[in-house]
Symmetry: C3
Subunit: 271 residues, 3 copies
C-alpha cells in the first residue's frame, strides 16, 4: 500500500501539452553546461520550442523576464555563469516566469551544492529535476558519484516529497520508473530506454523540455510529466531504429520532431 | 522596380571559390559560442578549411595575425571571451586579415549590442552576417526576439545598405531569400531549406564559412555569396535524404564535404 | 636499424584492457575544450567509461581525488579553467590518480605552452598525448600551425623519448603511424583512417580514452596503446559504413560501443 496517493496523469492532457508547445513555440532561456548545450538546443528546436542560450551575468536577468521558461543546469558552472544563474533565477521568480533547476552532481561537489541551495532560497522554481542521488542530497541526505545516481528513483520518494513541500515546487526524479511529485500528488512514469543512459545530455535535455512545457501549461506537474513522456517515448521509437548510442542520439532528435501528440497519449505508461 | 541595382553573382565564380577553399585549406580562427562550436568546426573541416577555436584573451590577438580569416560570433559572450573578441578583431584589422562579425541577438540584449558596436568602431569587418532583426538593430532600428528574426530579409535591405556604407563592409542578411550587399551591389540568393531553421548552428556555421571564403577570395561579397550558396545547396541535398532535424544536421556535414564545385554553379538560384 | 628497441604490444593485453574498462566503468574527469566536450563525453560513455566534466576552479581539485583518471586538454583554456587544470593535475598527482595531458596547439600559442610547462613541472602525468608538432614544441623545439601537425609522428621520436624521460611519463604521438614511448620501450601502431582528421575531436577523445584506460590498467604505455587501438579500429569499422564526416562521427560512437574486445586483438596492426 503506497504511503502517498498516486495521481495518474491524463493521457490526453499530455498530448494536448505537446500540441500547445508546438503551436506557441515558447522562448526557453537555457543556462546550461558546455557538454550538452548543442544537444539541448536541438532537442528544444525539434520539440517545437525556441531556445536561447543566454548565460552571461550581464544579460541573464533581463532576458529571463522575456522568456517563457528558464532552465538553470549546474553541469559545468563557472564563477561568471554561476552569477548569471543567480540573477536569472531571481529575475524569473520576480517576473512570474517558470524556471527549472537541474542540480547536476549536487551532493557530490560542494561548490555547486551551495549554488543549488542559494538558488532555491526564496525564489522557488517551478520544477526541480534530478536523479535520486541529487534529490536526496538537496533534501539533506548523502550524495552520489559524479553524474550517475547510485540509488533508484523509488528510494528518493520521501526526499522528493520533502523537497517539494519545502520549496513549493514540483520535484521530478529520473530513473527506470520516473517519480514526480508536487508534495500532494505523485505520478509514476514508466517509458524510456536504457540507451538514454549511454549518451550524454538526455537528462539535461529533459530539464530544458520541462522549462518549455512549463511555459505553455499552467500545472508544473503536468509540464514535468509531459516532458518526461515526450523524451521517453521518443527514445523508445529511436531505439527501435538504431543499435548504437551515436545513431540513437541522432534518431532521438528526429523523433522529438516527428512524434504526433496522439502517440504520447497512446504510448504513455504508468506502472 | 528595385531601388538598388541587382548584381548577379557569376555561377562559375562561386564554383571557383570552393575549389580555392579546398586547395588552400585556410586557417579560420573562430571566437564563437558554446552551443555551436563543435558543429562549426565540423562544418569548416567538411568544407575543406582548417578551424582553430582560439578565443581566450591571452592568445586571440596573436593568433588572429596567423589566421587566414577570423569569425567573431556573439552567441554566448562572457567577460573573458568578449575581451578576446575585441583584441582579435583589432589584431585582424591591423594585420589585414578579413574578419566576420555575427552579431547574434543584437538589438535584443544590451550588453552584446554594445560589444557589437564597439567591435565595429574603427576596425571594419570584411562581412557582417545576421538575420534581418539583427541587421536592423545594428543599423539603429528596433530589435527582434531571441535569436529568431521577426521580419524577413527584404525588410532589412535599407538597413543593410546603410550598415555596409557606414562600415565599408559587406552585409549578408539571412532569410528565405538571402540579401547581400557591399552598399553598391546587391545580390539575392534563393537556395536553402526550412530544416536549416530547425537545427541550431546553421547561421553560425554560415558566418564561419564566410570567414573561410574571405581568406581565399579577394572580394568579400563573392566570399559571402559562395558561403551562402555552399551551405544552402548542401542543405537542399541533405534534406533530400533525411526527414528529421537530427539526421539532417549529420547529412549537412556530409554534403559540405561531398559537394563538387560544379554543383554549386549548377544549383545556384538567384530570384 | 631503429635506434630504439621496438616493444610490440601484446594483442591479448589490449583486448583485456577493454574488458576491464567495460567491467569497471571508471570515472573519468575531463577538463577539456568547448568544441569537443560533447563528443568526448559520448566517446567515453560508448567505450564503457563514466565521464564527468568538472572543470571549474572551485571543484576540480576535490573531484580529481575521486576520479579513476583525469584528462587535461588545452584546446580552449580560459583564466578560470586554466586554474582548474592546475589544481586538478596537482590533486591527481598527490592522490596517485593517473592524469593525461593533451597540449593542444602547444608551441603555436605562448600562453597555453606556458600552462602546459607549468602543468608538467613536478606533477608528472601518466601520459602526454599530442601530434608531432606539439610534442616537439613541449620538448623544446619549434611549433606547428594551429591544431594540425606539419610533421609526421616519426619525426618526433627523439622529442617523445626526451619528453618521456624528462617527466617520467608515457608520450603518445598521433600520426598515420602512432608512436608511443615510456622512454625505454617504443610501440608503433598502424590502425586508423583518414576521416579521423576530417572531424573535430578525434584526438581529444583519444586523450580521454587514455585517461579511462589508465584508470583500469597499471601500465600507462599499455593504456595509451589500448586507447589508440580502440579509437583507430572503431574508426576503420565506421569508415567502412559511411562516406561523409558527419555520418562517420556518428558511426564512430556506435563502433566504440559495439566493438568486441577480441576484435581489437584481431585487428591491431603494428608495422
Amino acid at each position: 500500500m503506497p504511503r502517498f496517493a498516486v495521481s495518474p496523469v491524463a493521457h490526453e492532457a499530455v498530448a494536448d501539452a505537446l500540441t500547445q508547445l508546438r503551436e506557441r513555440s515558447p522562448l526557453v532561456q537555457c543556462l546550461t553546461n558546455i557538454v550538452v548545450a548543442n544537444f539541448t538546443a536541438n532537442a528544444l528546436l525539434a520539440a517545437g520550442a525556441s531556445p536561447a542560450m543566454v548565460d552571461n551575468p550581464d544579460e541573464a536577468a533581463a532576458f529571463a523576464r522575456l522568456a517563457g521558461g528558464v532552465l538553470v543546469n549546474l553541469g559545468t558552472p563557472y564563477p561568471d555563469t554561476a552569477r548569471a544563474m543567480a540573477s536569472a533565477a531571481s529575475s524569473a521568480h520576480a517576473a512570474g516566469v517558470p524556471w527549472v533547476l537541474d542540480p547536476v552532481a549536487a551532493g557530490v561537489l560542494g561548490w555547486r551544492t551551495g549554488i543549488a541551495r542559494e538558488l532555491l532560497a526564496g525564489q522557488h522554481p517551478a520544477i526541480i529535476r534530478g536523479n535520486a542521488s541529487e534529490i536526496i542530497a538537496l533534501a539533506g541526505g548523502a550524495g552520489g558519484r559524479g553524474v550517475d545516481s547510485l540509488v533508484g528513483a523509488e528510494q528518493a520518494v520521501d526526499a522528493a516529497v520533502a523537497l517539494a513541500t519545502q520549496h513549493a515546487t514540483v520535484v521530478a526524479v529520473s530513473g527506470e520508473v520516473d517519480v514526480l511529485t508536487d508534495s500532494r500528488r505523485i505520478v509514476r512514469l514508466a517509458n524510456g530506454h536504457p540507451l538514454l543512459t549511454r549518451i550524454t545530455g538526455a537528462g539535461c535535455a529533459l530539464g530544458a523540455l520541462m522549462a518549455a512545457f512549463a511555459a505553455v501549461v499552467p500545472d508544473p506537474l503536468l509540464a514535468a510529466a509531459a516532458a518526461t513522456t515526450l523524451l521517453n517515448v521518443a527514445a523508445e521509437r529511436a531505439a527501435a531504429q538504431t543499435a548504437g548510442p551515436g545513431s540513437f542520439a541522432v534518431a532521438l532528435i528526429d523523433q522529438l520532431h516527428a512524434l504526433p501528440p496522439q502517440a504520447l497519449a497512446d504510448q504513455l505508461r504508468q506502472p
